[in-house]
Amino acid sequence: MDPPGHRGTEMPKPSKPIDAHIAWTADYCKHCSTCITICPVKNLEFKDDEMTSLGKCTQCLLCMKYCPDFAIEVEAKKK
């Protein structure tokens, strides 16, 4: 039997860490730039169609909350 909640569907495609806290999934990203614009510290940038982090992430999670395509994940701050 499938574990509850999963019902046989695959889990997300593998993401790629782009710094210590952020992972980006090329297979899901539609290059809309919403995350880049919403980031209050201008931490994100595309370099040759690859998402890159400039190492300034404060783990505010805004890019993760707005990305319409589940393509960027940020680790929450440890309490």
């Binding site: 509850p4 909640g5 539609k30 809309c32 909350k65 707005y66 319409p68 395509d69």
Partner: protein, 246 residues
């Protein structure tokens, strides 16, 4: 529960255009469901036809992609047959208040236990950007090239004309509030309607000169404010909840 449990990953990425508001609303809905911790077996999502209507097929629960305008009566049938289920309707403005408007009137009047999440992008997105009953007055669309001559339908007015009612207006920009009202709508026993102010970049925004989805997202930031307090109806540009439970 993790929000990831509520997504059909093998169907990702979605068909939605880059930067479309629907993806953010879909994601916030998954967050809200995870917060409530509802098991997939106790949930059903019903959509009508449209870009927003695609959502039913992306939730990892039993769902129905109903015909255009008929999401609410299909959802009501499911609820009546199996009252144990939480039934959520996720669809567009054209689907729910345009062609499906009559169902909205009567499900609201009878206070049927459904949570309706309406993506209001003011347009028929999927079919190319035709004027909808929700298009703002004066707005240029494919079928109103000189600007819409009509005032948009007052959804809040329709819902709150019923003695017992629950209506929320949220926006794609104000995500914390959006997630909270979706949660409340799912929890409310009775008819709960969330109007989510959204946008369609490809078939509406581009015609108006917008270059990207996030440029349209910014107009929601400046155009809408959370209303302080809970008294009376929401004014234009106000987000919040209007309810009466007895």
């Amino acid at each position: 529960m993790d929000y990831k449990d509520y997504i059909k990953w093998e169907r990702m990425p979605t068909t939605w255009c880059p930067g479309c508001a629907i993806g953010t609303i879909f994601k916030q809905t998954a967050f809200a469901l995870a917060d409530l911790g509802l098991p997939a077996e106790e949930l059903t999502v019903v959509s009508g036809i449209g870009c927003s209507g695609r959502a039913a097929g992306y939730f990892n629960v039993d769902s129905v992609h109903a015909t255009h305008g008929r999401a609410i009566p299909v959802a009501e049938g499911i609820k009546r047959a199996n009252p144990r289920l939480k039934v959520i309707v996720f669809s567009g403005d054209g689907d729910l208040v345009g062609i499906g408007g009559n169902h909205l009137l009567h499900a609201g009047r009878r206070d049927i236990d459904l949570a309706v999440i309406c993506v209001n992008n003011g347009i028929y997105g999927m079919t190319g950007g035709q004027m909808a009953p929700t298009t703002p007055a004066g707005e240029k669309t494919l079928t109103s090239p000189h600007g819409s001559a009509y005032a948009p339908l007052n959804i809040q007015g329709i819902i709150t004309s019923n003695r017992r009612h629950w209506f929320a207006r949220a926006s794609t920009f104000h995500v914390a509030h959006l997630q909270r009202v979706i949660r409340e709508a799912v929890e409310r026993p009775g008819f709960a309607f969330v109007e989510v102010m959204a946008f369609c970049i490809e078939n509406f925004g581009r015609r108006l000169g917008f270059k990207s989805g996030h440029e349209m997202l910014t107009t929601l930031k400046t155009g809408y404010k959370l209303r302080p307090g809970t008294e009376g109806l929401l004014g234009d540009g106000e987000l919040g909840v209007v309810k009466h439970d007895s």
